[in-house]
């Protein structure tokens, strides 16, 4: 890679910071860890992204938004390609992203080793309340308002909150 493409890739990354998850607008696509590759050539730009959850409707919007942001900054022939393998995991979410999620009121995902046991009726993961930091919380439902979230209630401050599932 020569210096000029390094500079352009840096520029593109800074523009991608502007593309947010429409469901969780504090997170950029970079925070989410879904940008797999940025390829530059004479013909244009190819950006490879990977879906979070299989049917997340936000993915289509994200794809369109990436194209719009880059096109509006003068880039031509922007192509966003979906790749499935390796499968996305919340472990790819940036630490910055996790911090922003918590500030936004959504408990960030725990590291993956605790996730989705096959055993039934397992003890809930220890999820920290994003408001009062208590671990004295319990799960209300494994499924929430979007595929990526579960519903919790804090037993300390009594606030209900959402948890971004470790996946």
């Amino acid at each position: 890679m020569n210096t000029s493409t390094e500079i352009s890739e840096k520029k593109i990354r800074s523009l991608l910071e502007e593309v947010k998850d429409p469901e969780v607008p504090v997170l950029s696509v970079l925070d989410l860890g879904i940008v797999r590759e940025i390829n530059l050539n004479e013909d244009g730009i190819e950006i490879k992204i990977t879906p979070t959850f299989s049917a997340c409707p936000a993915m289509d919007v994200i794809r369109i938004n990436i194209e719009m942001v880059l096109t509006s900054h003068g880039y031509k022939n922007v192509k966003v390609v979906q790749v499935l393998s390796p499968a996305w995991t919340t472990d790819w979410m940036s630490e910055e992203g996790k911090r922003k999620l918590k500030e936004y009121g959504i408990a960030p995902p725990n590291p993956k080793q605790q996730v989705c046991h096959q055993e039934l009726f397992v003890q809930d993961e220890a999820v920290q309340c994003p408001r009062c930091d208590s671990y004295h919380t319990h799960r209300v439902s494994e499924f929430g308002s979007t595929p990526c979230k579960a519903l919790y209630v804090c037993d300390n401050c009594k606030e209900p909150f959402e948890y971004f599932k470790s996946h």
Partner: protein, 252 residues
């Protein structure tokens, strides 16, 4: 190539039809959290279906798209197994159908992760994570209903009577499944029967339920994978396809 198309359409149809069935619960679940759960599962299944349809469409070429495959094929062209098109019935029947199917998918996708076909392998790895949620959730519900009240026990028993005859088909390979298995694109579904039965039996025991006797599979209904469906599929498709059939090419 045709085998691969048939095979991916079969996988897609299974997911889409069960998704459509589950989505009928939207706004009607027994409790808000469970309403959200069953519709979330629906959404995951639509996601699986989309991956497989998109892949089929690229293999078919021409003008085929994921939408044309879902909205413009007739029931004879659908290759889903009979289990997924069965009516929702009550909550017990919906739960049991999901449990039987998730247990099947859980085993199937574990094998398909090693498919010779890269795209099928990638989709399987991706969706297996979600299927794990579905399996755990539906298993817990089977236990809760079976080992719950007299009423819930009675209802899940009735659901077993209604649905058991459709379980055998999952393990009787269609011609394209046999060929896909031979080419190591797919897997031999008959080999999944034993682990499936053992896992179902394990949950049933914890749910104080008994597995129906194995009458050498004599009463199992088949045909869905080859396009011969129960009467229900026509109604499902007329609902699902109404807009595209009435206003061709209409967009959201």
């Amino acid at each position: 190539m045709n085998v691969l198309i048939d095979y991916t359409l079969h996988l897609a149809d299974n997911s889409l039809i069960l998704a459509q069935r589950n989505s009928e619960w939207c706004g009607h679940g027994p409790a808000l959290e469970q309403d959200i759960a069953i519709t979330n599962i629906s959404l995951d299944l639509i996601g699986q279906a989309r991956f497989f349809y998109q892949y089929s469409a690229t293999l078919i070429g021409n003008e085929a798209t994921e939408d044309s495959l879902a909205y413009l094929r007739t029931e004879r062209e659908y290759r889903n197994c009979l289990l997924v098109e069965q009516p929702n019935g009550d909550w017990a029947q919906t739960i049991l159908r999901q449990f039987f199917f998730s247990q099947y998918q859980f085993l199937l996708f574990q094998h398909l992760q090693d498919s010779n076909d890269e795209q099928i392998a990638a989709i399987s790895v991706k969706t297996l994570k979600e299927v794990s949620y579905h399996l755990r959730w539906s298993s817990e519900w089977v236990i809760r209903l079976g080992d719950g009240t007299d009423e819930s026990h009675k209802r899940i028993m009735k659901a077993i009577d209604e649905l058991w005859m459709y379980t055998g088909e999952m393990f009787q390979p269609a011609s394209y499944e046999l060929q896909a298995a031979e080419e190591r694109i797919g897997t031999d579904v008959s080999s999944l029967k034993e682990p499936w039965t053992n896992s179902v039996n394990d949950i049933f025991q914890r749910a104080t339920l008994t597995l129906p006797p194995d009458r050498n599979g004599k009463f199992f209904q088949t045909g869905g994978k080859d396009g011969k469906h129960t009467e229900h599929l026509g109604y499902i498709l007329s609902d699902l396809q109404y807009m595209q059939r009435t206003y061709p090419g209409n967009e959201w």
